[in-house]
């Protein structure tokens, strides 16, 4: 029915959707820039793969184990850094991503520089699609619930949110952990599709790609993240055929995309509706943001 080429593309698209939607929870809704999302995916991928290779468990269990370990690291990273200002999280996640990459490169259990091979192919389109839909629905419900509103309050003005009794650290860390666990699921799916894992698949460049998807679609908007993920999965593939000239500029394009989106249309392609799903920079922008920090 569907050629192997497109089948694979769709699987990748589903994985990217999970990544984008989960990052959106932290960066979009809570307004905390996380630059190490791919690292959580890597943790999930390697954990799931190691579990499958060592103990031959049902696929679902492997996915869950990947998700749990990613969540654990999310907690480990989130607790100390989310106490502080948002900028620190950005650098901390960047650094975290690097440490994880170096760790994977050097540990024996992850196969080191040689990577992990021979992972059985468990992922297929139905599983990937179901996971993606599940994550999307969960994210939607979360953002519309009290939890989501608290996150948005924190994003808009953390000091004020705390003043009305929102425990900002709790919400931020929770969002971070949830998002990490989703990335872990994406990682497990990734591992069992490509059957080979290699530390370079989960580096900074991949984190930036996911961030670009979120930014393109609209910060804070889960639909937007889905859109961004789909666009940035399919369009480069189609352009591949047109000319290699274009693909040379891919990272260049992502960089420019991030800057231009912030300058011109911060609410992304999918315009948020009135229930303020998106980042209304046009409205809020008038308020200066730095003086409330020097207490």
């Amino acid at each position: 029915m569907l050629s192997a080429y497109y089948y694979q593309l769709f699987v990748i698209a589903c994985i990217n959707v999970i990544m984008a939607v989960s990052l959106n929870l932290v960066t979009g809704c809570a307004g905390q820039l996380s630059l190490g999302h791919a690292a959580f995916m890597g943790i999930g991928a390697y954990t799931a793969a190691i579990v499958t290779l060592s103990w031959d468990v049902p696929f679902v269990l492997a996915l869950i184990s990947g998700s749990v370990s990613a969540a654990f690291f999310g907690l480990l990273l989130g607790l100390p850094t989310l106490r502080l200002r948002g900028d620190y999280l950005a650098i901390a996640t960047l650094g975290f991503g690097e440490i994880i990459r170096v760790a994977i490169l050097n540990l024996e259990i992850t196969g080191g520089a040689f990577g992990l091979r021979g992972i059985p192919k468990e992922t297929n389109l139905p599983i990937a699609f179901t996971s993606a839909v599940a994550v999307c629905l969960a994210s939607k419900r979360l953002t519309k619930s009290r939890f989501g509103r608290a996150l948005i309050a924190i994003r808009e003005d953390e000091v004020a949110a705390r003043a009305v009794g929102i425990n900002s650290t709790f919400y931020k860390v929770s969002a971070f952990v949830i998002s990490a666990s989703c990335a872990g699921i994406a990682g497990g799916l990734f591992a069992h599709w490509f059957r080979y894992l290699n530390p370079s698949s989960f580096a900074f460049a991949e984190s930036i790609e996911v961030l670009s998807m979120v930014v393109l679609g609209g910060i804070g908007s889960p639909e937007g993240s889905v859109m961004g993920a789909l666009v940035l999965t399919f369009v480069p593939e189609f352009l591949r055929g047109l000319s290699s000239f274009v693909s040379q500029y891919r990272m260049l394009f992502y960089g420019a995309l991030l800057v231009i989106m912030m300058l011109i249309r911060p609410q992304g392609l999918v315009s948020a509706d009135a229930s303020s799903k998106g980042l209304h920079l046009a409205d809020i922008g008038k308020k200066g943001r730095d003086e409330d920090d020097d207490a």
Partner: protein
């Protein structure tokens, strides 16, 4: 020990980069992710200038610093000024975007190949006991010290320096006092970028290698150094840079060399956990 010397030269490069980060953060509360790329651009400017004309080292350095200054100011104007009043997230994303854009622009224009950056004079080796030092190492240390003294004088003895300190303390009040905040910010970027460019030239020559990706790691580590010393704190940046350089080298010497890069980030983790304001910084916790 030899390793301490290694650490010092490495550390002074980190310190120069950290100074730029710290200055910009002090004034704008923004992490200029693209700072590492300015370092790389400075190295390339130095390389191109050095290759096309026969110039003495000091001139090459000066031109590279000037060029990086200009780049820094332009960067500020394009990516940061329009977002001055926007939520910090937007500025951070823009910063990351610029960093990636610049690095890849260099990759496209200059190509991925590493290029040789020859030192335009004889390098002499000295032996001091069991230590092996060469004249270029000394030059790096001397240049760094000179630049840092210059920066100190600028910040503490000139009018513009006073203005910079005022803006760092309280932007709006400074504006009320008649200070042209935009101008001050531009000068801050110019000076910080010049320092990064200088570091780029020094390191590029020292290792005889310049390539478009050379800015990423030093940029990150420079930032860690700035945080270590207390972000926003100028002597802190220097201290942080030196400590980081020595720690990294000692880490390799005493532990395993595979984990070299992780050391910098481990230090970051420890600092954030234990004393986020850094060695010399004040407590910057948000209070309600």
């Amino acid at each position: 020990m030899q390793q301490i010397v290694n650490g010092l030269t490495l550390g002074s490069a980190y310190a120069l980069i950290a100074l730029g980060y710290t200055m910009v953060y002090g004034v704008l509360r923004l992490i200029n992710f693209a700072h590492g790329e300015i370092y790389m651009i400075g190295a390339f400017i130095g390389l191109i200038v050095g290759q096309s004309c026969e110039l003495p080292f000091s001139l090459i350095l000066a031109i590279a610093m000037a060029g990086s200054s200009v780049c820094g100011v332009v960067l500020e104007g394009i990516a940061y000024r329009p977002l001055r009043d926007a939520p910090r997230l937007a500025a951070l994303i823009s910063a990351i975007g610029m960093s990636i854009f610049l690095e890849n622009l260099a990759l496209v224009i200059m190509g991925p190949q590493t290029r040789a950056f020859l030192i335009p004079f004889e390098v002499k080796q000295f032996r001091v006991g069991t230590l092996c030092v060469n004249s270029f190492d000394l030059l790096i240390l001397v240049t760094c010290v000179v630049l840092m003294i210059g920066l100190y004088l600028l910040v503490h003895r000139t009018k513009i320096g006073k203005a910079m300190r005022a803006v760092a303390q309280d932007k709006d009040t400074a504006r009320l006092m008649g200070i042209d905040v935009n101008h001050v910010i531009r000068v801050t970027f110019a000076v910080g970028s010049a320092l990064a460019g200088a570091a780029g030239v020094l390191v590029g020559m020292n290792f005889n290698a310049v390539d478009p990706t050379m800015g990423t790691m030093p940029g990150l580590k420079g930032f860690v150094a700035a945080v270590l010393g207390g972000i926003g704190n100028i002597p802190g940046a220097v201290a942080g840079g030196v400590v980081l350089g020595v720690a990294e080298v000692m880490g390799v010497a005493l532990l395993r060399s595979e984990w070299r890069d992780a050391i910098a980030f481990a230090i970051l983790a420890i600092v954030l956990l234990v004393k986020p304001s850094g060695i010399l910084g004040e407590n910057l916790q948000e209070k309600v």
